[in-house]
Symmetry: C2
Subunit: 241 residues, 2 copies
DNA sequence: CGTTAACTTGACGGCCCTCAAGAGAGGTGG
DNA sequence: CCACCTCTCTTGAGGGCCGTCAAGTTAACG
């Protein structure tokens, strides 16, 4: 992996939700903008712990996050879950459901969140006449594929410390891209959920957080994370390659 | 994970490449079909070991496999590679490059292969006027996302034996869906490539193949695999859940 | 027939999981 | 307001799975 390949992975704030603003400078007329407004009309609030959708539910819309924090996960019969992703403002969820017309995972809000429901059929139709919209849709889907490949790399090749470092740096960049601090942020998820996402156990996550703190790389206070030595974390990742 | 969720994952033979046939029963006229032929006109042969594309190359086309076998992988500076996928007839490659306009992985033919190069910009334009094409494109991309999530689950949660069992069953189903034998097939990749894909070392892959053979689950003769007890393999997977 | 790549098998060790106990934080009801 | 409960997190001890290292075998190819 090229240095910073994973690091530079971030789901840019280019959500279809905010496409109105995105399209303005491109020279859209009022008519097109009005069409977009039809799409972005349906907003919903989701309380902490509530499901936005569940596995097996029929697929009709994709969801753009206006604010808040979600996890998506697959649930097993025995109750174990695997977290497939964490999602924040500007991210699009539900793209994996198009192929089967049924949601293939659960989406749970980890804090109070606002989402924007986008009927996919209408979006698809609208993308006929709006090349920019079409291009953006393809980019969003493609970015998810490319990002998932990075995650696969992480799960398949990295050791626990490298995974945690990559995870923290990715979070940092995504917060930073959204105007929040890159060096200090609140984790919205538990150690167990982090572990599930990274293919580790919660004890391992906790231990490595402590280790990073001892080494002066980060400061941890429960869910408050402060990156003290970003380059140090990046060096950890570099050792993979 | 629901029983057979991973098992049922298979990239259906619905490649855009064979869309001509696919669209016929839907009632396309000669004009539309001619448009499609423009897309599928550019065919290429790739010899064993040749690269179809490499990381960093500018993105212009996606590729539908007409025949043969590919692996896609990310290469590290130190020479180590992580295999992100194996691809056979009917699969589409290169979808991860749309977001960056640059290929993010290497695609290597593991045997003599024939592919069909599809200029993405033209495909995208064409999808404006052809809803079926548009829908198929979205489905193909969505299926890749959903499948990658299954792989992430495998890498994050399964033990070595479970990964191998899932791998063999997935291969079996994909061969079967293409008209080949589900119970007996030739591996196109080395143990090392399998290991890289599954997050294991080649010795582990070899050991587990031997173990499966001792247990009567499969018969192995180098690259020739015969599934002797498909249900036994599925039971291995079931124990995950 | 010689060379090399790919595979198999064994011994050993390390990383992470498992099991366990305890501490801290947050919420609820008295 | 405080006691109490529960969820989450931390830390330790021990064990198991798989990686590492090594040697030998087989297959493929010129």
């Amino acid at each position: 992996m090229k240095e910073g390949n994973i690091l530079n992975q971030l789901k840019v704030v280019c959500s279809l939700c905010s496409l109105r603003e995105l399209c303005l400078p491109i020279g859209f007329g009022p008519a097109e903008l009005q069409q977009l407004d039809v799409l972005t009309g349906s907003k919903r609030h989701v309380k902490r712990g509530e499901y936005l959708y569940r596995t097996g539910m029929p697929f009709a819309s994709i969801y753009a996050i206006r604010g808040g924090f979600f996890k998506t996960s697959i649930l097993h019969e025995d109750g174990r879950e695997h977290v497939t992703g964490f999602h924040m403002m500007g991210d699009i969820m539900g793209l994996d459901a198009i192929s089967t017309d049924m949601h293939g995972c659960d989406a749970v809000a980890l804090e109070y969140s606002e989402i924007c429901e986008i009927p996919f059929e209408r979006l698809s139709e609208l993308s006929m006449t709006m090349p920019v919209l079409r291009h953006n849709l393809h980019k969003v889907m493609s970015r998810e594929i490319a990002f998932d490949h990075e995650v696969m790399l992480m799960l398949g090749k990295m050791r626990a410390e490298e995974r945690l470092a990559a995870f923290l740096l990715n979070l940092s960049q995504r917060f930073s891209a959204r105007g929040y601090s890159a060096a200090s942020f609140q984790l919205r998820m538990t150690r167990e959920e982090i572990g599930s996402y990274l293919g580790l156990k919660l004890e391992t996550v906790s231990r490595i957080f402590s280790k990073f703190q001892d080494e002066g790389l980060i400061a941890v206070q429960k869910k408050l994370i402060e990156l003290k030595d970003e380059n140090g974390l990046k060096r950890l990742l570099g050792s993979l390659a």
